[in-house]
């Protein structure tokens, strides 16, 4: 595998202002859309008056729930593996009750967004407010209002795993440490807000949607299912997408309303969410309260972990994947890096009147890592032991044998110790200790901390497929050789900036021995690509890259066979490199362009009466393995101003194991970008809601994502696959492991441990993120809680 830092295929356009995001596309006759959204977190709708709005200038139509019901059916985020998962019916527009601020109530379609917004102000909705549920503990309190009759106690899903003898293990332990962790509600904030253009041709029953999205095939399926259209008449095209991070992975009520309206109106409709409505309506994640405990022997060996997790989702289970995901991570990943005899994990996903919940980069990994690693540091501190040595003793051994964790999850062996070695190399700890000593001497609270993490990538079909959720864990690639000798293909992976499209092109170029600039890969169009999973869960290269490699090797085989016939040589004695068929010693025998032209225009000249196909296709998806694990250890160093409580991340290092590297520039990009999102979660990002469920973080001035001056330099250390692994075999694709979520999986855990290291000399501790100045000062006792 080349491992070359090739630039992204789209970068020449994007660097010159020639991006083509949904908002940039011109569709003839397209109308614009705006929504009337609920200003209440929870309210009955007594009546809606749209007469004035319908008559407003430039307005084509105003749709309410009943208007769309003729073409659009409601949906439930249910899951076949969890029959008791409460999945109340959700509609695109609210019918008789609203359940979160920002929930769509009416859709206005007209000549311009401005005129639609003008008309929206003329819609009169008579609300009768109801008491709202506004947090995880709030939701399960005995006196909490019940959001859905079918979900008593507001529980969407509850699950627990418990080892035999867990209580006894804790009783017998020499040391038990406990903490209650709080995690703020986060959202991904892709810089390009959500948007789509839906166009319906009634004569053919054909729907085309240009969609800023990660999973066009899944959306094609959803549009067909929910609108009663023939799947083969639905096409979803993803143009340039300005970031996604999971926020553009699922079905949204407002987007479904727009598509339904396009079917009814028979005119293309463009909906571009603005940032204010994005803050209220983009999916939200990571809102947990977790009680955790770790049992440790007198010799400093971890005996058991026990976590009790409440995950506050929104008012509905997400569709189509259901809201089981983050809780599932708690059940799988709590304590994951460590060997221990027993473990327990309980998780409850609970409905609230906060914003809709969904998958944001990492999906529960950051929570599990922060709880695990926070408890590990706490135990080490209590024992008076170095937290790095404590971890070394307790890491699950990397001895080649797969293991089953105490929570019952099967893991491949993971080289945590090697990752820790990489962090320690070169005297780093001595430098950190010196820095910390100097900073403390200056009166600054300074600390550093580490966090081990597991990243579950490349998921198999056992969760969604077996759960009746129509999300594919496969991807495919089709390639063809053009008369010029260039290779043109389509892949079902999708591109939102992470570079997977470029990596797929590199894999094809490598496997065919072709120059990269002779390979053209189209992604994001369901009319030409396989039905694939698209981008999510750190899988697109591992799966889509595998399919591309296989297709390229098939094409290569046919090219060499044809060359062999032309040259009267055994194909096994030929090679394909640098755009030419060559002898094994590299001497060129025939240019690929010449061979291709011959096949296309003079196929009769090829001996043996052949029909050159020059097209190869392959699809791939995991079958038995539920996931492929990556892992690593992250290090964070912070300084805290004791007067203001402001936490500054001053350094960050990731030692990471991720399998075969196709493009180090892209891999590092994923890790660094993910780390900064994790630091944002730890230090400044929070969707704040008040006691009435009103969104206080309504703008980017309030929801504070990291900016350049407050972001540290991030160093990435690649830990190579230790020797002895099956590798670099021409007949098998390289072993890819995903990497997209590695940064977020461990960054906030490392930062929280660094913060507690900084606070430790003051006998203070903080178990809530984001570690805002107010929270830090409260932890220091400088202000009241």
């Amino acid at each position: 595998m080349s491992g070359r830092a090739a630039p992204g295929l789209r970068w020449p356009r994007l660097l010159t202002g020639r991006g083509r995001y949904v908002a940039d596309l011109a569709v003839r006759g397209a109308r614009e859309a705006a929504f009337v959204r609920s200003p209440h977190a929870h309210a009955d709708i007594r009546g809606v008056n749209v007469a004035e709005a319908r008559a407003a200038p430039g307005i084509d139509a105003v749709f309410l729930h009943d208007d769309l019901a003729a073409v659009l059916r409601p949906w439930r985020g249910s899951h076949g593996l969890f029959p008791d998962l409460a999945a109340p019916e959700q509609t695109a527009l609210a019918r008789d009750r609203v359940r979160h601020v920002g929930e769509p109530v009416a859709l206005i379609v007209g000549e311009s967004r401005a005129l639609c917004e003008d008309a929206a102000e003329l819609v009169a909705v008579d609300y009768a407010p109801l008491a709202a549920v506004t947090g995880p503990e709030d939701a399960v309190a005995p006196e909490a209002p019940t959001l859905h009759a079918e979900a008593p106690g507001n529980v969407c899903l509850e699950r627990a795993v418990r080892s035999e003898g867990l209580e006894q293990t804790f009783r017998d332990a020499a040391l038990t440490v406990e903490a209650t962790f709080g995690f703020g509600r986060h959202t991904g904030v892709p810089l390009e807000p959500r948007g789509l253009i839906a166009a319906y041709d009634a004569a053919e029953g054909r729907l085309v949607v240009h969609h800023s999205h990660q999973c066009p095939a899944a959306m094609q399926d959803a549009f067909a299912q929910l609108l009663g259209l023939e799947e083969r008449r639905v096409r979803v095209i993803c143009p340039d997408v300005g970031g996604a991070f999971g926020i553009k992975q699922q079905v949204y009520a407002d987007e479904m309303a727009v598509v339904a309206a396009a079917v009814l109106l028979r005119r293309p409709i463009r909906f571009l969410a603005d940032r204010l409505e994005s803050m209220a309506s983009d999916i939200q994640a990571r809102h947990h309260v977790v009680r955790g405990a770790l049992a440790v022997s007198a010799e400093g060996a971890i005996r058991a972990i026990d976590v009790d997790d409440i995950h506050a989702i929104g008012p509905y289970s997400q569709y189509p994947r259901s809201s089981a995901g983050e809780g599932r991570a708690m059940l799988s990943l709590s304590g994951a890096p460590y060997a221990m005899a027993a473990a327990g994990a309980r998780t409850r996903a609970v409905f609230t009147n906060l914003g809709m919940s969904g998958h944001y980069r990492g999906v529960g990994h950051p929570i599990a890592a922060a709880v695990t690693e926070g408890l590990v540091d706490l135990a080490a501190r209590r024992l008076g032991e170095d937290p790095w040595a404590f971890r070394r003793r307790n890491f699950a051994p990397y001895d080649g044998a797969p293991r089953t964790s105490a929570l019952g999850v099967a893991f491949e062996p993971l080289p945590f110790a090697a990752c820790l070695d990489a962090l320690e190399a070169g005297g780093r700890r001595a430098r950190l200790d010196a820095w910390r000593r100097d900073a403390r001497a200056r009166g600054v609270l300074a600390g550093y901390g580490i966090a081990a993490f597991v990243e579950m990538t490349t998921r198999g079909p056992g969760f969604y497929g077996d759960g009746g959720v129509r999300v594919s864990t496969r991807d495919g690639c089709t390639l063809r050789l053009e008369p010029s000798g260039a290779v043109r293909g389509a892949s079902s992976v999708t591109e939102q900036g992470q570079g997977v499209e470029t990596a797929v092109a590199q894999i094809v170029a490598d496997a065919l021995g072709a120059p990269l600039d002779q390979v053209e890969i189209l992604t994001g169009d369901t009319a030409v690509a396989h039905h694939g999973g698209g981008t999510w869960g750190s899988r697109s290269l591992a799966v889509g890259g595998h399919a591309a490699w296989t297709a390229a090797r098939r094409l290569r085989a046919e090219i060499l066979e044809i060359a062999g016939a032309l040259l009267q040589t055994d194909p096994a004695a030929l090679d394909l490199q640098g755009g030419a068929v060559r002898d094994q010693d590299g001497a060129p025998r025939i240019a690929l362009s010449e061979l291709a032209a011959l096949c296309h225009f003079q196929p009769h000249k090829i001996p043996g009466e052949r029909q050159p196909q020059l097209t190869a296709s392959a699809a791939f998806g995991p079958l038995d393995a539920p996931f492929r694990a990556g892992c690593g250890v992250q290090l964070s160093a912070v300084e805290i101003d004791p007067e203001t409580g402001l936490v500054r991340a001053v350094d960050h290092v990731v030692a990471h194991f991720c399998g075969a590297v196709v493009n180090p520039l892209l891999v590092d990009g994923q890790i660094k970008g993910g780390v900064v999102q994790g630091l944002g979660a730890a230090l400044s990002e929070e969707l704040a809601y008040d006691a009435d469920g009103q969104l206080l973080s309504a703008t980017l001035a309030d929801y504070r994502v990291p900016m350049a001056p407050e972001t540290p330099d991030i160093e990435v250390l690649h830990v190579e696959r230790p020797a002895g692994a099956a590798d670099d075999n021409d007949d098998a694709p390289p072993r890819f492991i995903g990497v997209g979520e590695a940064g977020t999986a461990g960054a906030s855990a490392a930062a929280l441990n660094a913060i507690n290291d900084a606070l430790a000399p003051r006998d203070a501790a903080l178990w809530r993120i984001p570690a805002t100045p107010a929270r830090v000062l409260a932890a220091l006792g400088a202000i009241g809680d």
């Binding site: 010159t16 202002g17 991006g19 810089l191 997408v241 940032r275 590092d668």
Partner: protein, 193 residues
């Protein structure tokens, strides 16, 4: 009176070196005017409230947030967008180093980053990493983590020939005299590890 009843206002300005005359509603932002009336979609609307920086344009030589300016406020102004700057080669070095360093992923913030970097290098040809970060403090990137962008700007700065002359004609703040050795970048507070 409804916004939509408002009398349109005539504006004349220069955009990417060409004169433009139009009639716009008072409430139309400069961003909407450039994108929708002139099809200059290189600037992006990431927030609409002046925080994210993706809507950057040069207005009379200085970066401005087009989403919080009204088109009518640009009367008589000289506007340059990413397209115009790119087409006249003003960003060539930065565009190359951005590609070399992976300083973009999804590309949505990239026009804002390029314009901020361009403005920085015009004033400060040899910026320190801290100065670069400060200059980029008005643009949000969610993809790269900023490090590669800082590296790319530093790499472009370290190339000869010197950066674009300042729009106001004054000499750059840190520009060395022509026969002096290359300027030292100020020592930065290094990362502890």
């Amino acid at each position: 009176m409804r916004f939509s009843d408002a009398t349109k206002i005539a504006v004349t300005l220069h955009v990417n070196g060409r004169p433009v005359a139009a009639e716009v509603e008072p409430r139309v932002t400069l961003a909407a005017f450039l994108r929708d009336h002139l099809d200059l979609t290189g600037l992006h609307v990431g927030c609409g409230h002046g925080v994210c920086g993706a809507c950057a344009v040069l207005m009379d030589g200085l970066t401005a947030r087009a989403c919080t300016l009204l088109a009518v406020a640009a009367q008589g102004a000289r506007i340059e967008t990413i397209e115009g700057l790119s087409d006249r080669g003003a960003l060539r070095a930065l565009q190359r180093t951005f590609a070399e360093h992976g300083a973009l992923q999804c590309g949505f913030c990239t026009p804002g980053m390029l314009l901020a970097a361009h403005e920085l290098l015009a004033e400060t040809p040899a910026p320190s990493p801290a100065q670069i970060r400060e200059a980029l403090s008005g643009v949000i990137c969610r993809c790269t983590g900023y490090g590669p962008i800082v590296d790319a700007v530093a790499a472009a700065a370290s190339e000869s020939p010197p950066a674009e002359p300042r729009p106001d004609g004054l000499p750059s703040a840190d520009a060395p005299p022509s026969d002096a050795p290359p300027s030292q970048t100020p020592p930065d507070e290094g990362a502890p590890s």
